[in-house]
């Protein structure tokens, strides 16, 4: 039994859910059918009753999961600090909103919470006693263009160390390991009028890991790039390739991973995110937790293709199984103690 569990975030099915082509139960059933039994939810997306869930609502969710042999893994919180037009939420209100989410997660039987990266470490420190009481891990999402070693992220790590708590840490989004520029992004910018020679230049610059601002300057100023070309160049600001070798250093601080992806090829490889480097690092350090699919490709292809989120998620899980078993063959599957 591998220590790396497979799961899926309902975020992955946003296209079909938005259009009413799938229900949440369809998503859960599909996840379970491919062995992705750990379900990550966005209550503000998937629970129309949010934030007022009755016990009957909670029971309905539990029954639904049980029907498919699935279980909840992670609760994606939001924090509406700008709820009011002219005044930011006070610190007390922020804590109150997060504690509300912790309690709801606990009622739903969820032990991991995705915390938005903008939430202040000192606010989270105030939430830690509640996280401990309800046994919910608060994981700050490490989302591109942040990375595991970014000073903002390290403030949360420092806070966790200072409080000596296992209930505060991070929750990496694998978008930080974008080794190759996604072909789907490029194709969309070309449909919007970017010239192939310019998109090739941008792809090459990303491949070489040139500082984004340099490429933006080249495209915008020297090449006289058009709107789509400049937009594509600017997308490089959010397309960093962080070092997968750091995963082991921070493994004690996370228990859940958002397995972001933009597209999977027919042969079940990811042309962009370096899962072939990430998964061996996870296995090597003996990390235990869930790889939770987060498909975000719909917005890049919906102008020309039908979106088939199920097929995309299915391919990612074929890749996960392959890479996990390869890595375990190499490093040994460490048993949970």
């Amino acid at each position: 039994m591998s220590k790396i569990h497979r799961g899926v975030s309902l975020y992955s099915f946003q296209e079909e859910l938005f259009l009413g082509r799938m229900t949440v139960e369809d998503c859960i059933a599909f996840g379970a059918s491919i062995g992705a039994k750990g379900i990550e939810i966005l209550p503000e997306q998937n629970m129309p009753e949010f934030p007022h869930l009755s016990d009957a609502d909670v029971a309905r969710w539990q029954d639904m999961l049980a029907r498919h042999g699935a279980h909840f893994t992670c609760y994606d919180m939001f924090l509406d600090t700008k709820l009011r037009k002219d005044s930011l939420m006070s610190d007390d209100e922020q804590v109150e909103s997060i504690v509300r989410d912790i309690k709801l997660a606990s009622r739903l039987g969820i032990r991991n919470m995705r915390v938005l990266v903008f939430v202040r470490p000192d606010i989270l420190a105030r939430c830690v006693p509640f996280a401990e009481q309800y046994d919910v891990h608060l994981g700050v999402e490490v989302h591109a263009p942040w990375h595991l070693e970014h000073a903002w992220i390290l403030r949360t790590i420092d806070e966790a160390d200072r409080l000596n708590t296992r209930h505060l840490g991070i929750l990496p989004d694998m978008g930080i390991f974008m080794k190759h520029y996604p072909p789907a992004f490029r194709a969309r910018f070309e449909r919007q009028g970017a010239r192939p020679e310019v998109t090739q230049f941008i792809v090459d610059s990303h491949e070489d890991k040139i500082m984004a601002e340099y490429t933006i300057y080249e495209v915008a100023v020297k090449m006289g790039g058009n709107k789509a070309e400049v937009a594509m160049a600017e997308s490089l600001r959010h397309a960093p390739y962080a070092n997968p070798k750091r995963i082991g250093d921070y493994a004690p601080y996370f228990r859940h991973i958002q397995a972001k992806f933009y597209e999977m090829d027919e042969d079940c490889t990811d042309p962009s995110i370096a899962y072939d480097e990430v998964i061996p690092e996870l296995v090597k350090c003996g990390w235990e937790g869930t790889l939770s699919s987060e498909y975000e490709g719909n917005r890049w292809i919906q102008d020309v293709h039908e979106v088939d989120s199920r097929e995309q998620v299915r391919r990612q899980h074929v890749m996960f199984e392959r890479l996990i078993s390869q890595a375990e063959a190499k490093f040994g599957a460490k048993e949970t103690v």
């Binding site: 975020y11 946003q14 859910l17 938005f18 259009l19 009413g20 966005l42 503000e44 997306q45 998937n46 129309p48 949010f50 939001f78 924090l79 509406d80 600090t81 700008k82 709820l83 009011r84 037009k85 938005l116 990266v117 903008f118 719909n298 917005r299 919906q302 102008d303």
Partner: protein, 129 residues
């Protein structure tokens, strides 16, 4: 992320007396991957055949009754749920004349984790049913 799906083109209809419509209405969704409290919807700008209609003319109804955009600013207890159509009612004496029209919707959202406002736009060619 969902711009092209915002306006339900088939839902457009005139409102008020059939012989003297007071305006028109249509169903729309929120262009965001989660629901939002109404106070964070800063703008629902409706443009008809290239002319933006006055903010005061627009009403929103997610099922709890029509509310003006100004009133939405403090509607902290109402929510536009994810993927769920709400009715947008536009006071526009005479309603939509017969024939095709360009109807556009621009949503301006105050998303707390973004420093800048988020905009969603959709434009469809519609006919009043």
């Amino acid at each position: 992320m969902f711009d092209k799906y915002l306006i339900d083109g088939a839902s457009v209809r005139n409102v008020g007396p059939a012989d003297a419509p007071t305006g028109f209405a249509f169903e729309a969704k929120l262009g965001y991957y989660r629901g939002l409290v109404l106070s964070m919807i800063e703008e629902l700008a409706v443009t008809l055949d290239g002319t933006e209609l006055p903010r005061e003319a627009v009403l929103f109804d997610e099922g709890l009754g029509p509310i003006s955009l100004d009133a939405m600013e403090t509607a902290y207890d109402r929510r536009w749920a994810f993927g769920t159509p709400a009715t947008i009612i536009v006071n526009h004496p005479g309603g939509l004349p017969a024939g095709e029209h360009k109807l556009a919707l621009r949503q301006k959202l105050r998303v707390s984790y973004l420093p800048f406002p988020a905009f969603n736009t959709d434009e469809k060619t519609v006919k009043a049913a």
